[in-house]
Symmetry: C2
Subunit: 244 residues, 2 copies
């Protein structure tokens, strides 16, 4: 047996998230089905993170063990033949048998895209949050700085989460303003459930001048989901990179 590491790009629009479910179309389900078709063996894959329904990935990291004779670097070509066009393996290689894409991840980078133009929204409906409100982008950029560092992010975690350690370290957080897109680029040692989407929902409230940028400090300290902004839609979120 040897361990294969895949880098996977997927358009999450038509999937009920990454994690396999019995009666839903998922990215994990589609990849495992592709492997089954390719080598006629049932295999369970492990990923660096479970993206939600409608969330995209440019470089999800996936591993699995196999005794197949397919050379590790050929897996990308072989497997792509058995995958739908909205999931593509962009790299495959041999990795050490103790490598784990989630436990060994040091940090992850996500982008969140907001599209501000009124034109072309039909085409971007699944690929960005379409928002034409007047936004104070400088205030939003200032608010980003208060999120940096190690904090208890309970206020930015979906209520009902059963995770016990709600402390995370945000290493980078900035908002790139390139008309017609606003793109949040955020890196952390890990993310809580819906964390980035609640951050975006809160930043938009800052942009609309409903929350002052400094108020982000108080929202963090409150450790209460109800004081942060609403959860922004999944369609603007992209898993960009996992660092090991």
């Amino acid at each position: 047996m040897h361990r294969i590491k895949l880098i996977v790009e997927y358009d999450g629009s038509n999937y009920h998230g990454f994690q396999r479910q019995d009666n839903a179309h998922t990215v994990q389900g589609a990849i495992e089905k592709g492997i089954l078709k390719l080598i006629d063996k049932k295999i369970t894959i492990t990923s660096a993170g479970r993206t939600d329904t409608g969330v995209h990935a440019l470089a999800q990291v996936v591993t699995f063990d196999t005794d197949s004779k397919i050379p590790p670097d050929r897996w990308q070509y072989a497997l792509n033949n058995y995958l739908p066009y909205d999931i593509r393996i962009i790299n495959s290689e041999l990795t050490s048998s103790d490598f784990h894409p989630r436990y060994d991840a040091v940090s992850k980078i996500y982008n969140y895209k907001i599209y501000r133009h009124t034109k072309g929204t039909t085409f971007l409906r699944n690929y960005a949050l379409c928002n034409t409100d007047t936004l104070d982008v400088e205030a939003m950029q200032k608010a980003c700085t208060f999120l940096l560092g190690t904090h208890n992010f309970t206020s930015f975690c979906a209520s009902g989460s059963t995770i016990r350690n709600l402390e995370r370290n945000i290493i980078a957080c900035h908002l790139d303003d390139s008309w017609p897109f606003l793109t949040l680029i955020i890196e952390a040692n890990g993310f809580l459930r819906n964390m980035i989407r609640i951050i975006v929902g809160s930043l938009l409230e800052v942009g609309r001048k409903n929350i002052a940028p400094e108020k982000i400090n108080d929202i963090i300290k409150a450790e209460d989901r109800r004081v942060a902004g609403p959860t922004a839609g999944p369609q603007g979120l992209y898993m960009m990179e996992v660092k090991f």
Copy 2:
């Protein structure tokens, strides 16, 4: 009765083209179904042009007659509630009762997008032709100039077409090179079946140095579909504007 003119944006990825068909999902079918749901009356719409399966539009022009009391400028909001998210009415207004979106069109502008990067093709699979061949873009741009003017475009018309007048006037034809996109911007008084896609297929042959740019002249003169390049896929094609 009065005539309403709609400007319609649609993502053609999930449609079997514009024209209504009995057993297929079409843009016309979806719009007519939306109107039926809105005003409880069966109405037939007329368009400026029938786009093929997978072809997109930023500004398709559609008209229909109605005695509905919905104010003409409110149709866009009212009808959008009854349309799928990949079809959006972006403007509605009253037009004269003898206005015809096809017969009154003076020219039409289409764009064809070619995506040259190896990254992100998963997301652009339905929105551009993905091509990573080495291309001589200057040769392609030169070839564009030979297409300008009034010619018999039999060589650039899908075989089997029953249209009698195969003469068309190409008013503008140039290739914009903005990495990672190559975009053909083409305006004509009308287009034959698959004409732009055959032009793109031929320009790519020029880019690959399989056809010299000047050869476009001979291809036009041959009046024979077999001497032009292959038909490029529909996914890069966008109806951009209809001029009246």
